[in-house]
Symmetry: C2
Subunit: 793 residues, 2 copies
């Protein structure tokens, strides 16, 4: 647990910085190959329709069209990211299930011809009634999205730990609240694209993927090829946030088009298509009941959730599980019940998005907890501290938590944000809110069932020792993992970061790694990198032992210098020893891998532990509300995180800022809107209210001193966890400012204004009946029952 580190813990510059700021970094869309064709996918204009016929003959005759394909030209094996539900096909054959569903594709000499060709494909549809309102998707008489899944139930989860009913019966106070979360979309600045090409029977795909390994696995499966014949390469990548984790039609159709034409084919989604295909945040209906004792200590909680999965499964089985499973992390209680239905609708499929499943339930729970605190007259900060999880505990659903400093986070953010003073002194219209969050540090189980390690790494030291190359299959999607892993490699080797090089995310060159999702890389890829670095160090020390005539155990190495622990004068440079090793013993190479431990806990015979470690954090936000318009101004945000040992403080706080940015957007501004035909109304960045840099408030981000014993050097995650408190924090700050509770996301100006209007009307009404006007003591509820999308317009 020593903090005697040379490389980790320092805000070294990003290893990809110069390439990126100079514009030299090539993203998938920047790549050009000789004879490359352009491919586009024809998508359904209907939310639900039977395909009666497809006529491609006119498109095929258009000059510049090199191939037109439909379901007849492609494998029909159903695929998906969750092996529990493979329900998607490369192209629809029987019917289409959402506006955007894949029907056909073309490969042409240029983009313009693609768009012309798509218009020439004649598809005859029989339009069917569509399921657009997930709240009623399970109702009797609703259309069936997939015939195989009765009542449109994609998955259901029913778990009870402890005795919830008994605990609620014994509670001092029991309260139920209902909330609804909206659909949002990851909005990576780089839209997804892929370039597919064949070399004999071998397929190479350049793709903006978060996981070359899963792409390789699923593409090999779909085309019935050995995995070794599929090569996935990730060029520079401009943001993923969960949306680039699964192979898409771009890869599947692109591979077929490339095979048929014998040419490289570039396929891509434009911004509008990204909204339909990128598997964003599920909308959720969330009913939460808790019972507390008179001090506010939580005795039991019940979560009854319903999730809008859209037309396909994607990673939604995991989203549904995470939505409930991660809820009992930040607060300690013994009795927990979680019921979830994920339903099919005729809307775009939803999947993983930063914080995966957790931000909306956290919004609901944190809002609800503030309501409970208000019911009991307890300060919101106090009720959280009272309930804060302690380290080395086990959640009711059997997750083992090692390190946990949520209490310290709350105590620190209380001071940083000047909570107690503000709580007393802020005027009406100004408010302060607190919320907590937690997230997995990597998934303990792979997405498809395999016993393979989750990460591996090699390190080679060049012949004269002046550089070392890290080979990792991990994926820098902009978050800086290449930098962090090079720091970890250098630290483990006793080397200098400035001399590190990295080769990453190319299944042919780099070793297995599951990629960037579930906040796993610093911890899991890092564990493999550490092992590889230590193998290098061991060889270097053994060589130095011969050179110095001292036992290897007496030697250590840091920052490029090998030294005797007992005799201060005795030292050698890493370079000279590495070079000597190369000369006398051959190439200096280290290797490492990481397999998660068997996770504790099981429920009804199934293992339910989900991650080897969990991050924690607390956020306070201060808002100012314009009573006339409902406009929300964010005065400031304070974040304190327990993310274990910090490898690169600047990158860490960058992750916190990014997570806050996305959380803010989801809290107040962002929402994917649909018309009554299931068509997205705002599938472009002009009308999808993505925040920009100028919208950002002052943010103060700190970490607590933390060490996770299971992680390399004590690390945990930060990239996703910091999103989780933000939505609830905004809800609570608005509540504090105005005494109104908006029970559906986003907490838009309009909803706040409506809530204020209702409150004013009620107060006026009360005032008419009872002269002494007073500030509301209990929260007022608004439109918690209906999502704002899929309404008749």
């Amino acid at each position: 647990m020593s903090d005697n580190h040379s490389v980790i813990g320092r805000s070294v510059p990003r290893i990809d910085g110069p390439e990126k700021v100079s514009g030299a970094a090539k993203y998938t869309g920047d790549l050009k190959f000789p004879n490359m064709l352009y491919g586009k996918i024809l998508t359904s204009p209907h939310a639900h329709a039977r395909i009666l016929s497809i006529d491609t003959s006119e498109a095929e005759r258009l000059p510049g069209v090199k191939a037109v394909i439909t379901h007849k030209d492609v494998p029909t094996l159903k695929y998906g990211l969750s092996p529990a539900r493979w329900d998607e096909s490369i192209f629809c054959s029987d019917k289409v299930r959402f506006v955007g569903d894949k029907v056909a594709a073309v490969a042409c000499l240029d983009e313009d011809t693609c768009y012309k060709a798509l218009k020439l494909i004649k598809v005859e549809y029989e339009v069917l009634p569509a399921v657009l309102d997930f709240l009623h998707a399970m109702d009797e008489g609703q259309p069936q999205v997939h015939e195989e899944y009765a009542r449109n139930i994609n998955t259901e989860i029913h778990q009870e730990f402890g005795d919830v009913e008994k605990a609620l019966a014994e509670a001092h106070h029991v309260r139920t609240d209902t909330f609804v979360g909206q659909r949002t979309y990851q909005s990576p600045i780089e839209p997804h694209s892929a370039i597919s090409m064949w070399d004999g029977g071998k397929l190479t795909i350049y793709s903006s993927t978060q996981s070359p390994h899963y792409f390789q696995h699923y593409i090999a499966r779909e085309f019935d090829m050995p995995m070794g014949d599929v090569r996935i390469i990730k060029p520079y990548l401009g943001g993923g946030f969960g949306g680039k984790l699964e192979p898409t039609g771009l890869e599947f159709a692109g591979a077929v088009l490339a095979k048929l034409t014998g040419r490289p084919v570039r396929t891509f989604y434009d911004r509008a298509e990204m909204f339909a295909h990128n598997r964003g945040r599920h909308a959720q209906y969330m009913e939460i009941t808790t019972g507390v004792d008179k001090n506010g200590k939580i005795l039991a909680a019940k979560a009854n959730f319903l999730m809008d999965g859209g037309a396909y499964t994607s990673l939604g089985i995991a989203s549904a599980y995470y939505a409930g499973a991660l809820l009992p992390l930040t607060y300690e209680f013994d009795n927990y019940q979680f019921d979830m239905f994920r339903v099919y609708t005729n809307l775009p499929a939803c999947g993983a998005q930063r914080g995966h499943g957790a931000p909306q339930p956290k919004y609901a729970f944190e809002s609800h907890l503030d309501n409970v605190a208000a019911d009991l007259g307890i300060d919101p900060m106090d009720i959280r501290i009272i309930n804060a999880r302690r380290p080395n505990t086990v959640t009711p659903n059997d997750f083992r938590v090692n390190s946990c400093k949520i209490k310290e986070c709350l105590e620190r953010v209380r001071v940083m944000s000047d909570w107690d003073e503000k709580k007393k002194n802020l005027p009406l219209g100004r408010g302060i809110g607190v919320a907590t969050g937690s997230f997995v540090t990597g998934a303990g189980y792979p997405i498809y069932r395999t016993d393979l390690p989750h990460a591996a790494a090699f390190i080679k030291v060049c012949e004269d020792g002046t550089a070392a190359t890290l080979y990792t299959g991990s994926v820098d999607i902009g978050q800086g993992s290449d930098t962090v892993l090079c720091q970890m490699a250098a630290e483990a080797m006793g080397y200098r970061y400035e001399q590190m090089k990295i080769v990453a995310a190319d299944t042919e060159i780099t070793p297995l790694d599951f990629g960037a999702y579930a906040s796993r890389q610093t911890y899991m890829s890092g564990a493999a990198v550490k092992q590889a670095g230590e193998e290098v160090k061991r060889q270097v020390l053994e060589m130095a032992s011969v050179m110095l005539g001292l036992p290897a155990e007496d030697l250590d190495c840091a920052d490029g210098q090998i030294f005797s622990k007992s005799r201060p004068g005795k030292s050698l440079s890493f370079e000279e020893v590495a070079r000597k090793h190369f000369v006398l013993r051959g190439p200096l190479l280290g290797r490492g891998s990481y397999t998660p431990p068997k996770l504790g806990g099981n429920f009804k015979g199934a293992a339910v532990g989900t991650s080897p470690a969990y991050s924690f954090g607390a956020q306070v936000g201060e808002v100012a509300i314009d009573e006339e318009t409902g406009e929300i101004t964010v005065v400031g945000i304070w974040d304190v995180h327990d993310c274990g040992k910090v490898i690169n403080p600047r990158l860490l706080h960058g992750q916190v800022h990014g997570a806050l940015y996305m959380g803010m957007g989801e809290a107040v501004w962002e929402e994917v809107l649909f018309d009554d035909k299931g068509r997205i109304k705002n599938a472009e960045l002009a009308n999808y209210r993505l925040l920009t840099a100028v919208d950002m408030p002052p943010i103060t981000s700190e970490v607590v001193d933390s060490y996770e014993p299971s992680g390399p050097w004590g690390v945990k995650e930060v990239g996703e966890g910091a999103t989780n408190p933000t939505l609830g924090m905004f809800s609570n700050a608005i509540f504090d400012a105005m005494g109104v509770r908006v029970n559906s996301l986003p907490l838009s100006y309009e909803k706040v204004w409506r809530a204020l209007k209702e409150k004013r009307e009620r107060e006026e009404d009360e005032a008419r009946r009872k002269p002494e006007a007073r500030r509301a003591e209990a929260p007022l509820e608004t439109d918690g029952a209906m999502p704002v999308y899929a309404n008749p317009s």
Copy 2:
């Protein structure tokens, strides 16, 4: 010596075949980078001149010009490929030494602007008298090319082994002949280009290089950087033949231009510039004396050579050494004297070209030996068989020869070519000639002094065992080494070639390898690859041993199948075992390296052994001469080679064909011509008489069964050795056809016609004096004293 191989010995398809035939393969010149500038070098119009001033101001003002550099802007450290003579600078500061010497460079937005900008650089010269005739370069009163090297002597070599004078005195017959070889140029179809870019203090250069390692070493040295901060990447490469072995002005100036502009800079030589910069074949003056006994057994040989080095050293020290050192390989004799001067002239520098130093001396020696045979009335085939070297012998200059089947090659080519019948029956105007050749299998010593291994390799097996990647620093320059090394890797692993992938020739990703020169890769890189493959195999067998419950020693692996040697039924697939290894023991990785053994022999205290193994070969060619025009038609060529174990027969015979093609060109058609100002007269492919595919005669290529005990699986070289007999073979076939000996290269139609004319005139003269005309019995000599270039025109 077992021939029980699964992968080697088979003509598997080239691993780069599909990429190349589909046009997908990217060569350096195909690469584009954002913001890339174009760079060109201003060269000297004078063969020898003092630089009085350089004014770049007008060029700098030209719109689109981003940088103009001269000697003031670059490091002044002298460089070269032979560390024995560093005599070249990035730019000339005091004087220019050949037409094409580097004076300044520009970086511009496009190529056109480069050419305009070069014209605007004003250089004031004081023209100096130039050394253009190497035969007189050492004469008193000649101008000095480099002030430091008196009498223009770049290097001189004087070696005597045994007692030459005594042996000659005791000889039955002593004869001296004199020959002159011409300048030729490698003519790779891809001209040299480079793209340089900086990332902070780190330099990356994409270059059409034969040796990323030497480029890395010398570029790091020039810029005083750690080697690890210089990355050299070789994209696909279109031919090297020795001309792309050393870093050029393109890399040095390109790196400075990139540094100054902060942008990638593409520099390139056009075809004409390639002739001036590509360090082609030296012209040589060669006087050879041998003494033989009455049976034609060689007793002693003396070689007195003079070499035109041009203005700089390049690899010329080695060329000079090889010219004499390789002569005593094919024939056995004990007494040998070699004297060589390599002189500076004010012509482009010469360096390594296929067969490096040896083809011209071999032309001279093989022509001379035929003259000796004619003197004694011995069949040219017989005199070679009589003198043929035996295996496990040591040359007079102390080169240890292990395997050697030159005698078998001669005996086989005699049969194949129908030598004896043709010798008897061919009419005047048709002739048949034989010659032998030999070449090093890699250089035993590195080009710069270092104790590093000469080659290293890694092999990773992918997680499910369905593919394996070979990482090698070796360089496929078109010869097919990537394919051959993948075969060797698969053979050593017990794997299938079809599942191999390769990453090569990128100093950051691949391990050290000295690259493609001296015919070293199959043998030396192959040795490292074999070791890496065997390390993989050992781990696989150990894993399989656990899985099968059988001792590892009882197991073997071939072609992807692991099997028990004692129990036929017991087997596992390589894939399942490799996968299990990954799961239980981490990544499956092998590593290997190769360091040449200490070579035997020394001369005056210096080690003189030069290679661990030598190839041998014999060629017969049949020509038809048009007496009226001197035109030479090649009727057929038969080649039999001793190149050790053959890894890929198709590629091997491809190398023989290519070597013959280049040898034919040098023998009869190719010559770089200069005017009296030292300017190349034919620096384009239209007038430099490169042969084309349609010029090629029928070629029959065979190998003898051979095994070199020091090489992996018994391999030796083939790529360069097959060039060495060709020139002499042509000389001897022409001699046989017409009874004339042309003593200078190329053996052009004109020279043959002139020799025939002289012969006819002499015969007519003799006929006038003596009525019985007869065919000449002894060779007639022609213009052996003067090279055809640098003549006053």
